[in-house]
Symmetry: C2
Amino acid sequence: MTNFSSRRQAVLEVMKTMRCHPSADRVYEEVRKTIPSISLATVYRNLAFLEKAGIVGRVVGCDNKERYDVELDNHCHVICTECGEVEDMDYPEDLKRYLDGYCDKNGFCKFGLSFYKICDECKRKSELGKLQNEISKN
Amino acid sequence: MTNFSSRRQAVLEVMKTMRCHPSADRVYEEVRKTIPSISLATVYRNLAFLEKAGIVGRVVGCDNKERYDVELDNHCHVICTECGEVEDMDYPEDLKRYLDGYCDKNGFCKFGLSFYKICDECKRKSELGKLQNEISKN
DNA sequence: TCAAAAATAAAAATAATTATCATTTTTGTT
DNA sequence: AACAAAAATGATAATTATTTTTATTTTTGA
């Protein structure tokens, strides 16, 4: 039975709604919009609970934060090497099959594939920085 | 020119010698055996320096620690879901080629593949725990 | 030789996460 | 409904990993 407490439910809802891979503090920020009195510890606790229950997963980005994910199937990640933001990407179908097979055959419980690049946001910021540098020189 | 300070050199040596993927505090522990006066901050600084220089890389394990790696080519990781320990594994040759191609074609700068399982050490510990539980019940 | 730059130790500061504890809410049983 | 036991929570303290700061030392290169 999926009989969660209202706050646990709220954390899960936020996870389902957000299309990104939020860190705990981002989830906290978001849940507070509907339940202002919720505490950060509760968010952590419920994310841990939901993880144990196999409902959300952890993703490691590139900044020292744990990030969370509700879509546990069939996708890999695109990670920004600057800000650590994580995006979903579908596996090429044949690759997924290959890795699933490899995993089974060798007794691994799961696998994770990530591709890295600098995200558009960070690229923009970096360009802006250079520009400002040029300007201040002259 | 690879003209590093003696401490920077020592950090790199340790990284090369250790066949695992140590966290900063493990590196610190190890370097202290030869340079007892080295400080933890210096280890962090030099790992960061060596990373920027492309000599060591970061690996994300499963515990909330950054781990470091000197072998930057041609291998993927086997990560323990319990303790976060990271082990190297060769890519199947054809998979490596496929991923390299995919990466180039789509403008990613790198990729990472990890397989997860519970390592032998942790399996042993967990068995031991269960056994002790049984005993204390009777 | 000597000034500027780089590297360092030690300690303080920061940031993310976890643990504690007193209180509140929920649950299942009578 | 009443109530005891279990679970969940907020607030805060504690912990852990990492980064920053500062005063000092070492290295570099002119």
